[in-house]
């Protein structure tokens, strides 16, 4: 196997691991769709970074993505404080504004929105083959950050997801907890869209933990199963897409994930029925 294939496998594995970890906690907070919102919202950041750097420089693109993602979460918070609109309305409003802004900027720099420079389009719709070795170093750093944060903070994040009032009463800061989780989400999305694209990104965050949840109610197992499903599907999916030559990576990975989820659901029959003990 030559280097580019190694890069593809390691890259998707890192994305799969990070997404499974972060996705577990957004799932527990019942905010799975924030990944979708963020993946759409990073567009203007990426376009701006592209304009500034003039080429496909992953670090700068990810930085742009991070800033845009962070601004989007700020807008969401602000709207939640300032209006009586429900969460889904606020999230959808934010993602469409940011995405439209990004498209508008894109069309400004080159006339037609679907004429995207190759680098940009790959970044948005996923083209894992476009990754190079420097990108992989960056992914490793980001993945390590995410893994380390999860390792140290999982108890706090878990408790916040379950009973945030209790944690507030203990003196923990909800703002800080949300900031950390949002930042991890933005980082993982900025990495992940390069493999699966904007629309399918939330699948990487949601489906592994959703499948794991059908198998267990204990946190340690939940995280472990998420990691197993997420990573193996990413690897298998990219392998299939390489075999098929013309098939984009994103849908392959998502199909593998979905088949896993459906198989588990059928095997477990009725997942986790609640039994009352009297």
């Amino acid at each position: 196997m030559d280097l580019s294939i190694w890069i593809v496998f390691i890259g998707t594995a890192l994305i799969g691991i990070s997404a499974a970890l972060v996705g577990t906690f957004t799932f527990l907070q019942k905010k799975s769709l924030i990944g979708d919102a963020i993946s759409h919202s990073i567009l203007p950041g990426i376009v701006l970074a592209y304009i500034v750097s003039g080429q496909r420089n992953t670090i700068i693109l990810m930085l742009g993505a991070f800033i845009a993602g962070w601004l989007a979460t700020q807008q969401i918070s602000w709207l939640q404080r300032k209006t009586k609109l429900k969460s889904d309305t606020i999230v959808a409003a934010t993602l469409s504004i940011f995405f439209a802004l990004g498209l508008a900027m894109l069309s400004y720099i080159q006339g037609r929105p679907d004429d995207g420079q190759a680098g940009l389009s790959d970044f948005l719709f996923g083209k894992i083959a476009a990754l190079n070795i420097e990108d992989l170093y960056l992914f490793s750093v980001v993945s390590f950050l995410i893994a380390a944060t999860t390792f140290f903070r999982y108890r706090v994040m878990f408790s916040f997801a379950f009973n945030k009032e209790f944690m507030i009463s203990k003196g923990f800061s909800l703002r800080w907890n949300d900031f950390i989780l949002n930042s991890m989400t933005i980082l993982v999305v900025a990495m992940g869209v390069q493999a699966v694209g904007v629309v399918l990104m939330s699948a990487l965050l949601i489906i592994p933990v959703l499948t794991a949840r059908m198998l267990t109610y204990k946190l340690r197992s939940l995280i472990s199963w998420s990691l197993i499903f997420g990573t193996s599907s990413s690897l298998l999916g990219s392998y299939i897409s390489i075999l098929g030559k013309n098939i984009p990576t994103g849908p392959c990975i998502i199909m593998v994930l979905s088949i896993c989820a459906i198989s588990v659901a059928l095997l477990v029959r009725v997942p986790f029925k609640r039994k009352r003990i009297q």
């Binding site: 009032e165 944690m167 203990k170 109610y217 009352r276």
Partner: protein, 242 residues
Amino acid sequence: MKKAIEISDLTVFYRDTLALDDISLFIDAGKITGIIGPNGSGKSTLLKGILGIIPIKKGEVTFFGDSLEKYRSKIAYVPQRESIDWDFPITVEEVVAMGRIIPKKWWARTTLADKEIVKETLKKVQLSEFSDRQIGQLSGGQQQRVFLARALAQEAELIVMDEPFVGIDMASQNSILSIVQKLRDSGKTVVIVHHDLSVVAQYFDDVILLNKKLIANGPIDEILKSENIEKAYGMTLLLNRK
């Protein structure tokens, strides 16, 4: 008598409406104090306001003379059951273990000492055999005991409970009350938000009657006079006390 909680001029808004109007009162240490009032009277809001869970418009609260920040680690908060997602993937033991997390050492794993305390408290509430179950598998009364166990695991001086007796059977109710009494007897202060008047007469030492404003506050015998009830609930009640 030491003052466990002293509240001055507390005013709280909840979604643009006035929930608590200029409340000033104190709660004695080492007693079981009940906070009673009709629906919407601000009972839960009072608890959440003094614990910093919701923002307050104005007012000051001290705990044994200290600010909330200084005294926080000694307060245990038992939330309303309706605010919990019973399908959440968490076991009985994990809920109780939450009681051992502290902000200063948030990264810490559960130590062996912590695990011992968790085991002990589960024994105290008679839930040892359920420690590995998902919380949704328990009955209402058992679920309430899990949260009480978490409060016990915190080894707090002040225990604050929000409507702990809603929707649980008599046996669980009595079991919880006996634990609460043991806490009081060992010198802890317990504050309970309660929804009706039936249990009050037997177990509470002091009572606070609330309806957005403070109606009355004091030992149970004095407070439970008809005219006070009328002011709080807007109607006359016949009480039968043993």
